[in-house]
C-alpha cells in the first residue's frame, strides 16, 4: 500500500529479495518460476507505460499468468464502480491484483473490499511504493548505505506520489531528505513530515549526494501553480551549468517520463551522472520481489504491501 506503513526491516527484506532476483535473472541457469500457476491481474485505470510493463515483465519472469486491464478497456467506462470491477476480477480467480488509479486511497479501499492481495502501483498523489523502493534500490547501488546521506527531491512535490513514497522510505533508512521546488508546489507543511523544504535551487543542490528529479505533472495542476514551463525551467530546471553546483559524485535520478528541456536538459539526462535507465532496469527486480513476497504473504500472514 505505502512505504509510510512499512518498517525499515520490511523495506530491507524487499530490497534483499530484489537483489537476489536481479542476480538470478541475469544468470540464465537460475530458475525463477516462483509464481507458476498464479494469476496476476494488472488493473491499470490510469495511463502508465513504465510501471505497467515492469510489473508485466516481473510477473512473467516469475512465470505467473498475467492479465492486464486498462481504464479504456474495462467496464468502468460503462459505469461500473471500482468495487464491482474488483469483485469481478476476484471472481475470475486473480491471485494478486496490481492497481494503478488516479484516486488516492483507492488500493486501500479495494483491499477492504476484496480478499485478494492488492499491490499499489500508484494512487493519485498519495504513494507509488514500488517506485520508491526501486529508487532506494538504485540509490544504494550507486551511493551505498543511505544512513546520513543527503537526498534532494526536486520538482512538483505537491502532486507527486513518487516524492511521498520516497520521503517515507528514505527517512526510514536514515537519509536526510530535502524537498525543493517552487513554493506553490512544495508547501512548507511538508516539514511536519520530518524533511527539509527549500525554495532555493542552489542551496538544495550543493550538499546533496543524490538529486531526484520529478516530472512536472501538467495534468494534475491547475494553471496557477507556476506561470509557465519556460519560467519553471529558468528557475528550477537542471542543466549542465547548475549540475556543477552539485558534489562531483552526486547522481541524478528521475522516475520518468522525463520532459527533456523542462525539468532536466537533454545533455544532462544522457550524462554519466544520470542513473535513469538503471532505475528502469531495477524496477523489474524490485517488482518481482514485491509480487513474490505478496504471494507468499497471502498464503501466510499479512496481506498487503
Amino acid at each position: 500500500m505505502s512505504l509510510e506503513e512499512l518498517t525499515s526491516d520490511e523495506i530491507e527484506c524487499i530490497l534483499r529479495q530484489a537483489a537476489k532476483f536481479k542476480y538470478e535473472t541475469s544468470n540464465p541457469e537460475c530458475q525463477t518460476d516462483y509464481l507458476k500457476g498464479k494469476r496476476v491481474v494488472n488493473l491499470f485505470l490510469e495511463p502508465s507505460t513504465r510501471t505497467r510493463i515492469a510489473f508485466e515483465i516481473a510477473a512473467k519472469s516469475l512465470c505467473a499468468d498475467v492479465i492486464s486491464i486498462s481504464g479504456k478497456s474495462s467496464s468502468l467506462t460503462k459505469g461500473e464502480t471500482l468495487k464491482d470491477t474488483a469483485l469481478n476480477v476476484q471472481a475470475l480467480g486473480a491471485d494478486l491484483i496490481v492497481v494503478r488509479h488516479s484516486s488516492p486511497g483507492s488500493p486501500l479501499f479495494l483491499s477492504r473490499t476484496i480478499d485478494v492481495p492488492i499491490i499499489n502501483a500508484g494512487d493519485g498523489a498519495h504513494e507509488h511504493p514500488s517506485q520508491g523502493l526501486l529508487d532506494i534500490f538504485t540509490l544504494r547501488e550507486n551511493i551505498g548505505c543511505l544512513e546520513g546521506k543527503k537526498i534532494t527531491i526536486l520538482g512538483d512535490i505537491l502532486f507527486s506520489r513518487v516524492a511521498r513514497s520516497n520521503l517515507w522510505g528514505l527517512k526510514k533508512l536514515g537519509a536526510e531528505v530535502t524537498l525543493a521546488g517552487p513554493s506553490t508546489l512544495v508547501p512548507r507543511q511538508f516539514e511536519e513530515m520530518g524533511v527539509q523544504v527549500s525554495h532555493d535551487l542552489r542551496e538544495s543542490l550543493v550538499d546533496a549526494d543524490a538529486v531526484m528529479l520529478l516530472r512536472i505533472q501538467h495534468e494534475r495542476q491547475s494553471s496557477s501553480h507556476f506561470p509557465s514551463l519556460s519560467e519553471y525551467t529558468k528557475m528550477f530546471g537542471l542543466n549542465a551549468a547548475r549540475s556543477k553546483w552539485m558534489k562531483p559524485n552526486a547522481i541524478i535520478l528521475h522516475p520518468g517520463p522525463i520532459n527533456r528541456g523542462v525539468e532536466i536538459d537533454s545533455e544532462l539526462a544522457d550524462s554519466k551522472r544520470a542513473v535513469i535507465l538503471d532505475q528502469v532496469k531495477n524496477g523489474i527486480a524490485v517488482r518481482m520481489a514485491i509480487l513474490y513476497l505478496c504471494a507468499q504473504n497471502s498464503e501466510g500472514y499479512s496481506k498487503n504491501v
Binding site: E4, T81, L82, K83, H101, S103, P104, G105, S106, L108, F109, T113, D123, G124, A125, H126, E127, L158, F159, R161, R164, P187, Q189, F190, E192, M193, S222
Partner: protein, 417 residues
C-alpha cells in the same frame, strides 16, 4: 391520545429563564405544570432533563432518506423541527416545488419540517430566485448551501432583496475558486494522503465578505457550518461591532478532526471538511462565548453505494440527527460544568429566533419537548438507527446521554424502547 405526567424532571427553557425541578403534565397534547389526575401514565423523571424540542438549522434530504425516515430519526434525536435545505436534484427555487414539499411534509412527517428555499435559481449563483414568491409559498429561509453565490453583486443584491421580506439568508461561506478540487481540509493529513485541499481561507474569505456586505447594507445574515478558527475570530469581531451576523457550526465539527480521514474513510468526508484540533477548540470557545449561536446536525444522507467508491469521488456528507445531541453533550460536558442551558440555547432557542419559529415550554401550550437522560451511555450502530441512510462517522462509537421521549405538537413522536 395518552396523557403523561413527567415527574421530578429538571425543566430548562432559556427563553423564559426557566430552570427548575417540577412535574410536567402533557394532557391532550397541552402542557401543565404539577401532577394532575390519575388517568395518566406517570413517569419517574428524576435526574432527567426536559428541554424545548430541538430545532435543526441545517439538514439535507437525499436518497435513501425520505420525509418519514428523516422525521423519525430527528424525533429520536430530540428534534421537533428541522430545516431542509434545497435539494440540487429538485431545487426549491419556485413556489410550486415548495408547495409540493410542504404538502408532502404535512402528510409524511411526525415533526415540523421547514423548507429552505434557494437564494439563487437552482443555487447556481447567477440569477436571484423569486424570494418573495418563495416566502409566500412558505419557505422560512433561503440559502444556496452547500454552495455560495460566487458573484458578490448577486450575493449583495440577494441579501438586500431578502431583507425586504425579513427572509433570513443562510450563507454557506465558500470560495469555490480555491476549494473546487478540495475534498479534505488543506493540512498535514491531506498533504500526506495526497488529496486535494479545501483551505480554511476558502471559508474565511467568504465570512469576511458576508460581514462586509452586511455592514454596508445594514442587513442580517446567518453563516452556516463554520469550521475554521479564523472564521470564529472574524464573527466575534463583527458581533462586537454590532454587525447583524449570526452563525452555526455542526456537531461533526465540534467533535471530529481531519485525523478521522486516515484510511480514506468516506463517511468522515463532510462539507465543509473536518479541520484541525485548534479549529475544533476555537469553535468550542465560540460556542461558549456565544459567538457561534447554533449547532446543527448537518444531517446529509447518502446511499451506501455512493460512499463505497474512491475517496475523492465520494459525495460529502454525514448523517447526524440521531447523534448530534449526544455528541454535543459529550463535548460541552468536558469544558462546561452544566452544559444543558447552553445546549437548549444553541440547539433550540437560537435557531428558533433566527428562523422565527416557536420554542417554548409553557403552561397551556402544545408540547414540543423531549426528555433526556444524561446518565446512560450507548453504542451507536447505524443498522439500528432510524435514518434510512448509514453514512455516519460515529459507527460503533460510545454515545453519552440518551433521548427517552419526544413530543411534537402535543403528540408523543418518539419513546425509547
Amino acid at each position: 391520545m395518552s396523557n403523561y405526567c413527567l415527574k421530578d424532571a429538571r425543566v430548562i427553557d432559556p427563553s423564559q429563564n426557566l430552570d427548575k425541578t417540577l412535574d410536567l403534565t402533557v394532557a391532550n397534547g397541552v402542557i401543565t405544570f404539577g401532577s394532575a389526575g390519575d388517568s395518566m401514565e406517570s413517569i419517574d423523571c428524576r435526574g432527567k432533563i426536559i428541554m424545548p424540542g430541538m430545532i435543526d438549522i441545517r439538514g439535507h434530504l437525499h436518497e435513501p432518506e425520505n420525509l418519514s425516515s428523516a422525521s423519525n430519526a430527528a424525533a429520536s434525536g430530540g428534534y421537533t423541527t428541522i430545516l431542509i435545505m434545497s435539494n440540487i436534484g429538485a431545487p426549491a427555487d419556485n413556489a410550486g416545488i415548495v408547495h409540493l414539499m410542504r404538502e408532502k411534509a404535512s402528510k409524511d412527517s411526525t415533526i415540523q419540517i421547514l423548507q429552505c428555499g434557494c437564494l439563487t435559481k437552482a443555487s447556481q449563483g447567477k440569477v436571484l430566485a423569486p424570494l418573495g414568491s418563495l416566502k409566500e409559498a412558505g419557505v422560512v429561509a433561503v440559502s444556496d448551501c452547500p454552495s455560495s453565490p460566487q458573484n458578490t453583486e448577486i450575493f449583495a443584491r440577494g441579501l438586500e432583496y431578502a431583507s425586504m421580506f425579513e427572509l433570513p439568508v443562510i450563507e454557506f461561506p465558500r470560495d469555490l475558486a480555491i476549494s473546487t478540487r478540495g475534498v479534505a481540509h488543506d493540512g498535514p493529513f491531506s498533504l500526506k494522503m495526497g488529496i486535494g485541499g479545501y483551505p480554511r481561507m476558502a471559508e474565511e474569505l467568504f465570512v469576511q465578505r458576508a460581514i462586509t456586505v452586511c455592514k454596508n447594507l445594514c442587513t442580517r445574515i446567518h453563516l452556516t457550518s463554520i469550521s475554521s478558527a479564523g472564521s470564529v475570530e472574524l464573527i466575534r469581531e463583527a458581533k462586537s461591532k454590532g454587525i447583524m451576523v449570526t452563525a452555526d457550526t455542526t456537531a461533526h465539527h465540534l467533535a471530529l478532526t481531519d485525523e478521522r480521514l486516515m484510511g480514506y474513510n468516506t463517511n468522515s468526508k463532510t462539507m465543509p471538511p473536518l479541520r484541525e484540533e485548534s479549529d475544533r477548540l476555537a469553535i468550542l470557545e465560540g460556542i461558549k462565548d456565544e459567538t457561534i449561536d447554533c449547532i446543527s446536525s448537518a444531517h446529509e444522507p447518502c446511499q451506501k453505494h455512493e460512499k463505497e467508491v474512491e475517496f475523492d469521488l465520494a459525495p460529502a456528507g454525514a448523517i447526524g440527527y440521531e447523534t448530534a445531541l449526544s455528541v454535543v453533550f459529550e463535548q460541552l460536558s468536558q469544558s462546561v460544568k452544566d452544559p444543558f442551558p447552553l445546549i437548549a440555547k444553541t440547539m433550540s432557542l437560537n435557531p428558533s429566533r433566527i428562523l422565527k419559529v416557536k420554542s417554548k415550554i409553557a403552561e397551556g401550550k402544545r408540547a414540543n419537548l423531549f426528555v433526556f437522560d444524561p446518565s446512560v451511555s450507548w453504542t451507536y450502530k447505524v443498522d439500528e438507527g432510524k435514518s434510512a441512510a448509514q453514512n455516519s462517522p460515529y459507527e460503533n462509537m460510545e454515545m453519552k446521554g440518551s433521548v427517552l421521549m419526544t413530543f411534537s405538537n402535543g403528540e408523543k413522536v418518539f419513546s425509547i424502547s
